[in-house]
């Protein structure tokens, strides 16, 4: 198996059905799984659904893990598939409305806070409006800090495809957020 020593033992213990091992594995990956789900969906409730679905699939199918790929890659694939499945199942509410609500809810004690919350909402909204394929590449890159090679392994595509998608995402985001660039220059 392509696993570090302790993780390999953990996976083998899970395959034997040891409940403590499941909990330990959950603790290792919970934040990573939830972060990808949250950054992809932009919604806490959806992120909980996706994370739950991912861990249920993980525990249900860990018997079939043979170690051909890195275990981390395998988990990332599960969460990516859960994200795409969730998107297919539920139509997204208008992301702009979510951004607007976030702006309303943000504390506006000062002008700087207000501008900061506007930037945050705009970036969130711009990312939300990317196509699922582009958004997932952006999330894996910026949330998890994966390399092109790792992203390609998770998504089952070439590194060239990953580079192309990231490039398109950057261009799209740059275009949509160009009006905020001057705020960034002023370090708001």
């Amino acid at each position: 198996m392509v696993l570090e020593g302790s993780e390999r033992e953990l996976v083998e213990a899970c395959q034997r059905g040891e409940s403590e091992a499941f909990r330990a594995l959950f603790e290792i990956y919970r934040d990573r799984v939830y972060s990808i789900a949250l950054r992809y969906s932009g919604n806490e409730a959806a992120a909980m659904d996706i994370a739950q679905d991912t861990f249920l699939k993980l525990f249900g199918s860990i018997q079939h893990f043979r170690g051909e790929a890195a275990f981390q890659t395998w988990i990332y694939r599960l969460v990516v598939n859960s994200c795409f499945d969730h998107k297919r199942r539920t139509r997204r509410l208008v992301p702009l409305a979510a951004g607007f609500l976030a702006t309303l809810c943000a504390s506006a004690d000062s002008l700087a806070d207000l501008l900061r919350s506007e930037v945050r909402a705009s970036v969130r909204s711009a990312v939300d409006r990317l196509s699922p394929a582009l958004r997932m590449v952006v999330v894996l890159r910026y949330t998890e800090g994966l390399s092109y090679e790792e992203i390609a392994a998770v998504l089952g595509c070439s590194q060239g495809t990953v580079a192309s998608r990231l490039n398109r995402a950057h261009k799209t985001l740059g275009r949509r957020l160009s009006h905020l660039a001057h705020m960034g220059d002023r370090h708001v």
Partner: protein, 87 residues
């Protein structure tokens, strides 16, 4: 891509801590969706109904045929009577 956008993305998409209740959700998932069952009963009923209708049709065929011949006989007798009476 501008450095500003790169920093914003790294900041806005930074990892977060999962809520504690996630473990409880994983341990006690909601009700599983109802499994789609094969309609065995419906198929058996359909097959039985088909067989029954074929049997009924074949059983009634001789009776229907005899009723038809009776009608033909009556009609021919009626024609015969008419031909006598008209003469």
């Amino acid at each position: 891509m501008s450095e500003w956008l790169e920093l914003e993305l790294a900041d806005r998409l930074a990892p977060v801590r999962a809520p504690e209740r996630l473990w409880h959700l994983v341990q006690a998932p909601g009700p599983a969706p109802a499994r789609r069952r094969r309609p065995v009963k419906a198929l058996l009923l359909l097959a039985a109904a088909g067989a029954a209708s074929v049997w009924v049709a074949s059983a009634w065929r001789p009776a229907a045929r005899s009723a038809q011949s009776l009608v033909v006989r009556i009609n021919s007798a009626d024609m015969a009577c008419r031909s006598c009476h008209t003469e």
